[in-house]
């Protein structure tokens, strides 16, 4: 019994420690995806969102698309946002927006990072 309880007591701090590492790593990972997403969104050879959309923190934005602001309240469903970046022509055949996923301008992972970034706007 004593053995078990001592093992238990030893386990709990270990679990707490483990959990706190996960908890700390979570935002850190998300943070790096957001940073990566922003980089892609501003990069002319990649997402290049800035060419058509005004985005907080971006210089010389274009005006073809709407300003990217309040994204989380406009698109509470993350999947919808992914779908728009992947291929907006599905919803709106006349859109100017390039189909970043369908035409492989960005990988799925890159789209995910861009969406992470968009959700912070």
């Amino acid at each position: 019994m004593t053995n078990i309880s001592s093992r238990k007591t030893g386990l709990i701090p270990a679990m707490v420690l483990a959990l706190s590492i996960v908890a700390a790593a979570g935002p850190a990972l998300a943070q790096s995806a957001v940073a990566e997403g922003q980089k892609l969104a501003f990069d002319r050879s990649k997402g290049n969102c800035l060419t058509c959309h005004a985005i907080k923190g971006g210089e010389y934005p274009g005006t073809l698309g709407p300003e990217l602001v309040d994204i989380k309240s406009k698109y509470p469903n993350r999947d919808e946002l992914v779908a728009i970046v992947y291929d907006e022509t599905k919803r709106n055949p006349l859109t100017v927006m390039p189909p970043f996923g369908r035409n492989r301008i960005l990988t799925d992972k890159e789209i995910s990072a861009v969406v992470d970034f968009l959700q912070t706007l």
């Binding site: 800035l50 060419t51 058509c52 010389y60 934005p61 274009g62 005006t63 073809l64 022509t89 709106n92 006349l94 100017v96 390039p98 189909p99 035409n103 492989r104 301008i105």
Partner: protein, 287 residues
């Protein structure tokens, strides 16, 4: 509920746009009607930019943006295409080795005729652009052809445009089914999406003129060829119509055709025809 209203609104708006864009195209498939096309094309731009006069469209983005217009006025004091124009004038008057000149290849010695190009050649059954006619002239006189995208061709066409400034575009479609077909093919090319970015010519120059891509203001398709060739600050040099078409295709991450490919000739034919009546303004200067 709110989202649903938005979706409904979007669908209604989309439906209207489809009607505006798709319906004429569907009818056009039954019968090609360039006269009606050109009328609808002009009306679209006049309605979109009610403050502009028709002749303003030949000045591209400068007519769409007050700041740019001011810059342009200042720039026109010492036009950046002047060097090219001088070079073109000199080239044009200098005889070939056989003693003949460019003027000998063209009606009215090549002066004041820019507005008649491209034309449809019924013997050949194809569209002949000014750039093509210039190189054919060279070859017929034993001279090697110039690159369609480089300074010599830009200089020659700059001079020929300059002597035609103010003359309204006067592109004719002869009563020949092949001419109508060339026109229709050019129109189809113009509205077809291509490249990794999935853009057609119309995506930028019909749907989005006056809008900015980064700092650049997109030019309206109406009158866009009237200003060719152009000095572009972005290129730090002159560009022919061929250069403009091929670089557009590269910018949308597509594969450019060979300059003066039949398809480019057709698209220039279409684009020039729908700008009929608007004055030649080339050579132009663009940011």
């Amino acid at each position: 509920m709110k989202l649903q209203t938005k979706i409904t609104l979007a669908l209604v708006a989309f439906g209207l746009v489809m009607l505006a864009f798709a319906a004429p195209a569907v009818f056009a498939a039954d019968k090609v009607d360039p006269v009606a096309d050109a009328k609808a094309f002009k009306k679209f731009f006049y309605d979109k930019f009610p403050k502009l006069k028709p002749e303003d469209f030949v000045n591209g983005p400068y007519s769409m943006d007050a700041d740019l217009y001011k810059q342009w006025q200042e720039k026109e004091q010492f036009p950046p295409y002047e060097f090219s124009l001088e070079m073109g004038k000199e080239m044009f008057s200098k005889p070939f080795k056989n003693g003949k000149t460019y003027g000998d290849c063209f009606p009215n010695k090549g002066i004041g005729i820019r507005q008649d190009y491209p034309y449809f050649d019924e013997k050949e059954g194809k569209v002949i652009t000014l750039e093509l006619a210039l190189n054919r002239c060279r070859e017929a006189n034993g001279e090697p052809a110039f690159s369609y995208v480089r300074d010599e061709m830009a200089a020659l066409t700059a001079y020929m445009a300059f002597t035609s400034r103010g003359k309204p575009f006067d592109i004719k479609i002869p009563n020949d089914p092949r001419a109508l077909e060339a026109y229709e093919k050019g129109k189809e090319y113009f509205y077809t999406r291509r490249g990794q970015l999935n853009f057609s010519c119309a995506t930028c120059h019909v749907q989005s003129p006056g809008e900015k891509v980064r700092t650049e203001v997109l030019a309206p398709a109406l009158g866009i060829v009237n200003a060719m060739p152009i000095y572009r600050s972005e290129w730090s040099g002159m560009g022919t119509t061929s250069r403009r078409f091929t670089t557009c295709n590269s910018q949308i991450r597509g594969v450019p055709l060979t300059p003066q490919d039949d398809e480019y000739r057709n698209v220039e034919y279409y684009l020039s025809y729908v700008s009929n009546g608007l004055p030649i303004s080339g050579p132009g200067a663009r940011p």
